[in-house]
């Protein structure tokens, strides 16, 4: 299928993710921040779709927007919003943070300007139909070990969380 | 009964039966002990009811009545004491937890205070209501005008 209005959707989604990303850090109400983060994640899922990576986009929606963010909201609802709204928005590290952000931004600009020289420009032949299958083959073939390590790490995190939540198990 | 009478003598004013029901009139000073003895020694383990009657013409205006029941003997007894307005009665909550709400209701309706009650406050009427309706000097259409005005926003609830 031929994509429609590619440029428009790219700038739309990119802009959306940036604006909502900024909203995440600027909103005082944590629930609003979380919702803005969801918008960011959804916009990114749209970008993945434009990159012919539908599987990644689907996983992005189902895991991040539908799963993790729901848990985020779940936790945020339990905390005292009154208290967090009175707290200061930025602490004293904001300057260091700004520096880091600027450095990263500079790197991006550098890559964008010098990019064509550094990276060879080529279009990879990505078969949209078998994209999902290829991810599967990669994960369970070439990167089997890394994949298993990652899942083990998650298991450790789960156990840690359970131990933290319950004193007596 | 006779055991009680021996122990307290004049404290037991009257112990008799009317229409097949036993009752006991006890001096208010020993009521706590009497109730405790009924529970401990005579197995009256179930406090059926606590209530009061108002006799405005008497010197001791109130009758406070405990109706007790023993599962073991299948018997009821009414223990009664007389107190004046403003006197307190020892609470029976520590003997029978059931007494909790019953005493609150007596307090609500008659204004009799129970000493040692964990949370003596009104139960059926609003907390800031004035007056105790089951006293004989409380008219049947009487109401707490201020409360009605403040809470319902109307002149009269009648």
């Amino acid at each position: 299928m031929q994509p429609v209005a590619t440029t428009f959707f790219f700038y739309f989604l990119a802009g959306l993710s940036i604006v909502s990303g900024i909203a995440v850090i600027l909103r005082k109400n944590p629930v609003h921040s979380a919702l803005a983060l969801i918008v960011t994640l959804l916009a990114q899922a749209g970008l993945y779709l434009m990159l012919y990576a539908p599987f990644v986009a689907g996983v992005q929606i189902i895991l991040y927007a539908g799963g993790i963010m729901v848990l985020f909201l779940f936790v945020i609802m339990l905390v005292n919003i009154e208290r967090s709204q009175k707290e200061e928005q930025f602490n004293k590290q904001w300057f260091a943070g700004l520096l880091a952000a600027l450095a990263l931004g500079g790197l991006f600009v550098f890559v964008y300007v010098k990019g064509p020289a550094l990276f060879q420009k080529q279009t990879l032949p990505i078969p949209e139909q078998s994209n999902t299958q290829q991810i599967g083959v990669m994960l369970y073939g070439n990167y089997m070990f890394a994949f298993e390590i990652a899942s083990l790490l998650l298991l450790v995190a789960i156990i840690g969380a359970v131990v933290m939540a319950k004193k007596r198990i | 009964m006779s055991g009680l009478k021996q122990r307290y003598g004049s404290g037991i004013r009257e112990a008799s039966t009317y229409l097949g029901q036993n009752y006991l009139v006890v001096d208010s000073s020993i009521i706590a002990d009497v109730l405790r003895i009924f529970e401990d020694e005579y197995d009256f383990d179930y406090c059926v009811d606590i209530t009061a009657v108002h006799y405005p013409k008497r010197e001791k205006q109130f009758d406070v009545i405990w109706i007790l029941y023993s599962f073991e003997h299948n018997q009821r007894v009414r223990v009664k004491t007389m107190i004046a307005d403003g006197d307190t009665v020892p609470s029976a909550v520590s003997i029978w937890p059931a007494a909790n709400w019953l005493e609150r209701e007596v307090y609500d309706m008659f204004g009799i205070r129970f000493e040692g009650h964990p949370d003596l406050k009104r139960i059926l009427l609003p907390d800031d209501w004035k007056g105790h309706p089951l006293r004989k000097d409380y008219g049947i259409i009487q109401q707490d005008q201020d409360w009605v005005k403040a809470n319902l926003g109307i002149e009269s609830a009648q």
Binding site: M1, Q2, V4, N29, V31, H32, L35, I38, P54, F55, A57, G58, V59, I61, I62, A65, G66, G67, M69, V70, L71, L73, F74, M77, L78, E128, Q129, S130, N131, T132, Q133, Q134, G136, V137, Y140 | -
Partner: protein
């Protein structure tokens, strides 16, 4: 232009795949209208069926047998005062019903009513459906939180916990069905040129796989397919917040759960979303396990005679409805008060008869029977939903979690592993 419109009619793919925007729009509108109609009729049907289970009549006043009741309800809801609580978070309160409705309706983009009767076919179809429908919980959580009240808050906490945990059992069941698509024919990893018959996430291809393998997945690797299907069928009830898993809106505990503070139009959006959600998950179940649009027994009762007989079913159904309606017309009281209703009912019967006649036309018949079989299967699920509601008490929250995590999840994993083993060994 006309050519552009007509050229699609002969194609054998969905308008989305064909890149035909006109027909895609038409399909979207059709799905939207059809869905709304389905929700409305479901509303009437639920009230009637539930009423008859409970020895009462249900709506009887508005129209014959309360047929117009849903319309009256909708009017009432639209005219009702729209209340936004004073302490509510206005923006989120306003946004959440729309979010819920939008996500639920988006899901229907990939629902295959027939080999070409879907708005589009994605190669991540099932993932897309699960993903987007998992966003509805966000709307519910937002609604509960934004209401700024205790009951909605508890309702939304419950619903988020419930949906997240049942999604896992649901996903496992789905994976075992997806696995079945690849366990036939070439290649263990399912890498194949055509993509059909081997591992796929596309809704249409999953149904095609069932056609090629000559079996509905519910019967495949018996009883593995059946168990996976049952897991899904239980989890989907929990996902759509229906009895006996309707804890987020448990009337007796939380008054109305997350939508306690909603009224009028906004409330009706939640209502619409709930019923569309039920339809959505039912269509997933039908697609994955019950052969989607395939007619019954394509393997045993094959041949052109059987094809003809089965293709007459849609028309026959409407003919049956027509007959029932006209019997109802004859039974209407003769009192002049009922004259209008009698005429109305007769009119409805005439319309149904007309539809039946149209459905008997060969060209229409062939195009429509897929949709018919799909809808019938979904309707069975809808009836099950009503039936559950009529018979089951409500689970308690900890028991609900126990069922999800300690029963469905282990069984789901077991079925997944066994399916994989069965696929290699058999």
């Amino acid at each position: 232009m006309l050519n552009y419109i007509t050229s699609y009619l002969s194609s054998s793919v969905t308008p989305g795949q064909a890149g035909n925007i006109f027909w895609a729009t038409v399909y979207i509108l059709l799905v939207f209208v059809g869905l709304s109609l389905a929700v409305i009729s479901m509303n009437w049907l639920e009230r009637k069926a539930l009423a008859h289970m409970q020895v009462r009549l249900g709506p009887m006043r508005v129209g014959p047998h309360g047929l117009l009741q849903p319309i009256a309800d909708a009017l009432k809801l639209l005219l009702k005062e729209d209340i936004i609580p004073d302490g509510a978070d206005k923006l989120i309160f306003w946004l959440s019903p729309f979010l819920v409705v939008t996500t639920v309706f988006t899901v229907f983009i990939v629902v295959p009513f027939g080999p070409t009767h879907a708005v589009t076919d994605m190669n991540i179809g099932i993932l897309f459906m699960l993903g987007v429908s998992s966003l509805t919980v966000l709307g519910i959580v937002m609604a509960g939180w934004a209401s700024n009240s205790h009951y909605p808050l508890i309702g939304s906490l419950r619903s988020s916990a419930q949906m997240v945990s049942y999604e896992i059992a649901m996903g496992l069941a789905v994976i075992s069905a997806v696995l079945m698509t690849s366990l036939h024919g070439v290649g263990l990893y399912g890498v194949s040129a055509s993509g059909s018959g081997t591992g796929t996430l596309s809704m249409i291809e999953i149904v095609r796989a069932q056609l090629e393998q000559q079996t509905w997945f519910v019967f495949k690797f018996f009883p593995l397919g059946l168990i996976a299907f049952v897991i899904f069928a239980i989890a989907m009830v929990a996902e759509s917040n229906r009895a006996p898993f309707d804890l987020p809106e448990a009337e007796s505990e939380l008054t109305a759960g997350f939508h306690t503070e909603y009224s009028g139009f906004r409330w009706s959006l939640f209502f619409l979303a709930e019923y569309s959600g039920m339809l959505a998950v039912s269509s997933i179940a039908v697609t994955l396990w019950l052969g989607g649009w395939l007619r019954p027994f394509p393997n045993w009762l094959s041949g052109s005679t059987w094809d003809l007989i089965f293709s007459l079913f849609p028309g026959a159904t409407f003919l049956f409805l027509t007959v029932v309606t006209f019997l109802g017309v004859r039974k209407m009281p003769k009192h002049p008060y009922f004259r209008l209703e009698t005429f109305g009912l007769a009119g409805l019967g005439a319309c149904l008869g007309l539809v039946a006649l149209i459905l008997f036309i060969p060209a229409v018949r062939d195009r429509v029977q897929d949709i018919y079989w799909f809808s019938i299967k979904v309707a069975v699920f809808m009836y099950l939903y009503i039936w559950y509601r009529g018979t089951f008490p409500r689970y308690r929250f900890d028991q609900l979690m126990k069922v999800g995590w300690k029963v469905l999840l282990p069984i789901g994993i077991g079925v997944l592993i066994l399916t994989a083993i069965a696929g290699i060994v058999l």
